[in-house]
Amino acid sequence: MTSKNENTKADTIIGLLFLLPYLILWLLFAIAPVGYGFYISLHKWNPIGQSPFVGFDNYTQLFSNDRFWNALENTFIYAAWAIPLILALGLAFALLLKSAKMSTVAIIEGALFFPYLLNVSVVGILWAFLLDPNVGILPYYIRAIGFSPPDFLNSPAYVLPTIAFVSAWWLCGYRMIVFRAGLNAIPDELYESSALDGAGPIRQFFSITLPLMKPSILFAAILTLVAGLCTLGQVLIMTNGGPGTSSEVLALFMYRTAFESFNFGQAAAIGFMLFAIVFVISIALVKFLGLKSELG
């Protein structure tokens, strides 16, 4: 069977050739930066002139810096709010749209998706405006119905949940589309037969929808986690880490260390830590949750 072997050989060569363009871009723009970032983090990086090698000094400095631990904690608090919010809203909207059975559902869908089309600076500025304690419409209507509005962006307790909500408003539209596609793929017969068995919508949700959607929800959760742990724009624009350092997340801490203090070595160390945290957690979750089939 020599011809088959030759075939496989040719396939391997062509296969690799086909893969090559993507592989080059991938190496250059996804992998090389991580390695290069790690290299920078081992130096007292001075783009002009000498950059002495300092080993893990940048990391030990980081670990003895309270602001790093504070930022780490904030990062997880933010993620703990943002990820469930984004997923829950996305799923809820997808379910609502599925059960709408209206001819104009596209309009509703477009409206719910619209915020995703804004860019981060617009989202941040718009919401800072809406939440302003004096001229913001949200505090105004909270006052109008007789409550006293919290200091959304100026209270250590509320600031991260508030930013997480804004992120959910902005991003859940995309999750909605993905989940909706998933829901559409569930055969209607499943619902019909369970309805014959007398199952109500709530039981159907738990016995059919959720189990079938579980892999894609978990997959979305991991992607949202990656993005959530690296959130920068919303925080930079809405609070710049305040009040105090209550909303200073790791990505913002890294940004400031690089762009305001020009300490590129230290910033690269923060970046690499963030990468390591995100990467390890995601891979662990993929393994632990048994999502390998989902990925391959």
Binding site: K44, P47, I48, D132, P133, N134, V135, D151, L153, N154, S155, P156, N240, G241, G242, P243, G244, T245, E248, R256, A258, F259, E260, S261, F262
Partner: protein
Amino acid sequence: MERRDFMKAMACLGLAPLAGTLGSVPASAAETKMWFNTLFHGGDADAMETIVKNIHASNPDLNIDLTQGAWTEYYAQLYNSVVAESAPQIGIVDDFRYESVAEVLYDVQDTPAGNILELMGAKTDDFAQWDISLVGGKALGIPLDQNGFGIYYNKDIFRKAGLDPEKFPQTREEFESACEAIKKIGKLPYHPALSGEPRYIRRAWLALLWSLNEDYIKGDKAAFNTDKGRQSLQYLVDMVQKQGWNRPGTNGTNQFLSGELGMLQNGTWFYLTVEKAKLDYGCSMPPKFFDRQVSWGGYHLIVLPKQPDSDETVAKLQATAKFLKAFLPYYSLWGEMGGAVPLFKAAINDPKLKETQTWKKTLGMFSQAAASGLMQAEPRHPKITDVDLAVEPHVQEAYNGTITVAEALNRAEADVNKVLAGA
């Protein structure tokens, strides 16, 4: 959609950006162009654009690519662009960031093209405060303007509160009773910190600290954790925690533009915004809160970032000198449109500038304050930005009432000393 149509569409879409990208690669354009990168936004940026357009109109050979509107990334961008050997020929820096980027700037009196100042046909004496451009005895920039804070006040609110709209309070007692009068008519009396961001809270505190003749940093140590330091910060905190002149977490600029705020500390640049809002307003230096009348101030300098060694660089620097020479007559327009005090003597003394609306409303007052030394800049130190960043969270927490003033200054002092001791 047919596959063929789809692919055709993709091919067309692909060609458009390719053509566009190739056409607009700036590297090829840079040979004939100068790049002027500023950190201005809004009105300032409009002013600079007008000036550059005018200069280009009378000097068609000066082809200037003006880039404006960067954020906090501006300085890192400036720094990195020198590293990347693609730096702008002309930049603008704030005095408090000046020393941190010093190593990427030319000495304007000693560039590969010679003494730029001489080529401009100017003397150090032509500038109002030439000394601010010196770092270690070398002039790394050319003074552009002095900017800083004053107190903008709403004249309608003053009238309703029974205050004289033409006479702003000059002493602390007068100021405090004005605040009480404004509070009585149900308006907000005073916001000390513009939009309420931490850096503006810190700057408001610094002016009070300086009013008590206390230092911010001395040598390589924090100097503010003293009785006077606590007294000044306590006074600022009391404004929003005890006196009820305002609340923490609010945006004074929004309050003022809504016509609900009596007095707002804001910068020279605020003139343009407040004019657009069509408010009846006045502007004054803050009263003498403690021992000395003073407000936070800063400078803008025109700088020449270092370029790769080449003949082209010399040619570009010569063109830069020509541009800057043509810029000199526009210092007064910069003051008129940007609101800051131009640091070119001929501009400050320009009778035409004194007839402008800007001069009458704000610039005249700011010029006088600048001339009498009432606007104080932050101390010069290569790490002043890191010092400021270390102080800000603590000062903001004190302002918000989440920690005490003493605690805030203790923490700030520790962090600042750590920053200053660091390698």
